[in-house]
Amino acid sequence: MELFFASRRGVISAGAIIGIIAAVLQKLGNPGNMGLCMACFERDTAGALGFHRVGALQYIRPEILGILLGATLSAVAFKEFRSRGGSSVVVRFILGIFAMIGALVFLGCPWRAFLRLAGGDWNAILGILGLAAGVGIGAVFIRRGYSLGRAHPTAGSLPGWIMPALMLGLLALLVGGFGKLGPEVGDKAAARAPLLLSLAGGLVVGVLAQRSRFCTMGALRDIFIVRDLHLFCGVAAFTVAALLLNVAFGQFHAGWQGQPVAHAEHLWNFLGMTLAGLCFVLAGGCPGRQLILAGEGDNDSGIFVLGMIVGAGVAHNFGLASSPAGHGAFGPAAIAIGIVFSLVVGLTMIQRRRA
């Protein structure tokens, strides 16, 4: 199995199964074209913890807990769990905040961008082009020697277990009846699949993504930097599988207007994902990948995930997030600040390499 998932067929299989799980979770009750979305689900989790006050967006999403814990189980089983960290943590935290702001201007993480495409929401095309633009800019920095510096093994394994423990704590809150403050029905964005099925789906996704290294940002980055299609094949399989199931379930509705939890402002769809893509490439992984790495004991990814959760609070408390009506009042300003920050990080954090 170890060798299988490192292969091309392995990442394609994993991507396809994750795509199927996403379409099924939507069928089971998750919001439209949002069977899985790291940004949306971390935002809902942030809301459930009171970090923002949008009534419909308050639910500790079991998928997030499942994905991180699935990665932990898989990493332990395959002896890949290593507690590590210490690489530019504050920069990573801020990148996480801006990644979330960018994603919430678009309304989705890269996983959801591909799921929106697979559901016929053509606005996703602008998002994916924006993502490619952001990743392309980051790729230039990486070629020039951009680095956030080395991570190091921690003294003892405790730090690596904090994120998994945090997820178990959130699970305890959820089972105890906390963490689902919002309405269960009535708002499209509040829709949810049954708790146990969401959790199970997340666990399977976590294991598969941990084994296959599935990464939506890396899929584009590796094309730009080393002309390698390995990860892209996984993302293509993910999208095609979700598309086929969406058609079968009657979940495919082609068009630009009236798409679920989406808006049709091309510029902000594009620029939101440009910022998010730039943050993901500078931090070394898409939000799903960051959750997986956090589950493997990587504290640098853990701080990025926490940054994204805080970013969701920031985005909603300060009117930065978009809604189906369009961009938030201060979304454009936040995008501008975020892009400037990311460019400064990319331009200045250059490792001088000895030849």
Binding site: S87, R150, A151, A283
Partner: protein
């Protein structure tokens, strides 16, 4: 003694970028040290595609990948 490159603790895709620099420089025999299976897989996949043979060796420092193309 072949050149040894330390890629431990570096995020994706830096270990691959460091390997690519050796390939571009025409280095036919070098070692790259990584500390995660992910980096190991990525470097191996990249260098294999470039025609290198890879020998893996676990050392105290980490996973040493010796790349050779004759």
């Amino acid at each position: 003694m072949s050149k040894r490159i330390d890629a431990r603790g570096l995020s994706c895709p830096q270990p691959v970028v460091l390997s690519a620099q050796q390939v571009v420089a025409g280095n036919l025999d070098f070692e790259i040290v990584v500390d995660t299976e992910v980096s190991c897989e990525n470097v191996r996949r990249f260098l294999s595609a470039k025609g290198y043979r890879i020998a893996r060796n676990e050392e105290d420092d980490g996973i040493v990948l010796r790349a050779n193309r004759s």
